[in-house]
Symmetry: C2
């Protein structure tokens, strides 16, 4: 399990995935079976093993059972699509929404190129500019007021088209289009392979980061675009590469390296939700500094023979 | 820092304290200084040291700097006070509110005896039955609808008096009364010492737990009452004891032991927010089982000479 929220769901209203875990049954390296938490909503008893084990990518123990927090289904749900002239204005619009304290359930950014891929694949005719996909949860009257304020804020950022959906079928179509963006790129670039980056920056750095990411894509010469869980400052670059073409692979790596460095220099993280695995081991020292020594001690204490998912997470 | 939410604030809407921590500067046993997180809203990079260190009570490192998540101030805030005939109905009313998905910002239970102590100390004239103190955050129209549904649900549980406050001074008076309940007991029982218990149970067990806790107070013969952060299933018994009277001290310990055992047998925790310290070391094995061995390994790995807050948390 990754330590993050479900794809396409912003942490703004419900928090990240890690915070939803009440308890886990974990099999340790020596075969011992433990529980990491309890069924209580909060606890200050002992060390917080939920916190340590969630996101450890199988390197500290194997999870055999999870108990998760549940949330009630909201009385009303509304989805929206907002198109902008520039990427920068779409990001600024999200920041305004967050600062206004509107309890958005999801907010996803899809850039111009990715909207084109969506239209081609999903046979939709959404405006092909930088677009926000939004979802609001709440009671009926509260949502009306949230929608009114959202319209005002979108206007302030020169939103060129704002469209709300309240019936379930239309909302599902909207989110299906968003969720198929990765498949759209694959379908529209037969024979190429997809590479996806994943960084997360502080919200205050998001605008510059995404502007910079767009430049990096263009400089690479590769087909690609940006999609972001922008309520959290987390975004991905999707790049299409020819796996036989060394130049393509080098360009893709260069983009990845570039946005990771950008994020780390601004207090962000090298991976928001895709985890470290093997590919991001090389950034662990730069991101964590001496804290990496602590992580090594923890691994050594819990898996002294290195038998759990060896070679992952720690360089 | 305790691993929990601020006193009187339920985790229902904003999550527990632990989830608000973005980063900490920590001095380790060997003098090394590390950072446990980043400024990003989410990360899946390396082990989640925030999760491990928050709530470790100074036994794994010393915190010298914290970076916390901030929340916008809601457009509107409303406070309410709801009185009931029985403790059980007040708890059932909270469960109904939670199940209805009303995003309550705070919900606090104060039992009949504690309401009497409040009135005597704060010179208020609140009805002296089991009482809920509530706070709602949101936009104006949304709150109206939340209030209407709350009224209905309180009626269903035979609420005898429901009073809303929207002006700041009246809201402050209400919360001040609630926050002074501990002082009220001390002031009204000169020469006695206060003992406060702290357990947290799953919401589904809360009704039975609080009924049982009330019986335990009565059986003890000590002056005392129950106050609870009931949105989380977390509650306290306040008992007034004569520190020179061995019988008093034994009765208080018996109550504590009783409610901890009750909570642990139902998937709860021996401490919701007051932490382990020395007093709850004896329950760690019962609560955590073999996971306690993991906690010991972590302590050994990070503080092999046992110099950090020695004798705390782990038995």
């Amino acid at each position: 399990m990754a330590a993050t929220n479900a794809s396409g769901t912003s942490a703004v209203r419900y928090g990240i995935m890690r915070d939803q875990v009440r308890d886990m049954e974990v099999v340790l390296a020596d075969g011992m079976v433990i529980h990491t938490g309890s069924l209580a909503a909060k606890s200050s008893s002992g060390y917080n093993l939920n916190g340590l084990f969630v996101g450890s990518e199988g390197t500290l123990g194997i999870f055999t059972e999870l108990t998760l927090r549940i949330h009630g289904i909201s009385e009303h749900t509304l989805a929206a699509r907002a198109s902008f002239q520039t990427l920068d204005e779409s990001v600024q619009a999200v920041i305004s929404l967050l600062q206004a304290g509107i309890p958005i359930a999801r907010v996803e950014l899809v850039d111009e190129e990715s909207m084109k891929q969506i239209n081609r694949y999903s046979e939709t005719d959404y405006p092909e500019g930088p677009t926000l996909f939004l979802e609001f949860h709440g009671n009926k009257e509260g949502l009306k007021q949230d929608v009114a304020l959202t319209k005002e804020l979108m206007d302030d950022h020169h939103c060129s088209a704002l469209h709300f959906e309240s019936d379930t079928a239309a909302m599902n179509r909207l989110w299906e289009a968003r969720h198929h963006v990765a498949y759209a790129y694959i379908h529209n670039h037969q024979g190429k392979k997809q590479m996806v980056t994943d960084v997360c920056v502080p919200i205050s750095e998001m605008s510059g980061a995404i502007r910079d990411a767009r430049k990096a894509v263009e400089a690479s010469g590769l087909p690609g675009g940006i999609v972001g869980h922008v309520g959290d400052g987390n975004y991905h670059i999707i790049l299409m590469v020819d796996p036989e073409n060394r130049e393509d692979l080098q360009q893709a790596d260069k983009v990845n390296e570039h946005i990771v460095t950008y994020a780390l220099e601004r207090g962000g993280t090298c991976t928001g939700e895709h985890s470290v695995g093997v590919g991001k081991k090389k950034y662990q020292e730069k991101e964590h500094g001496d804290a990496l020594l602590v992580m090594r001690k923890l691994k050594q204490a819990l898996d002294p023979n290195g038998i759990l998912n060896p070679g992952k997470v720690l360089p």
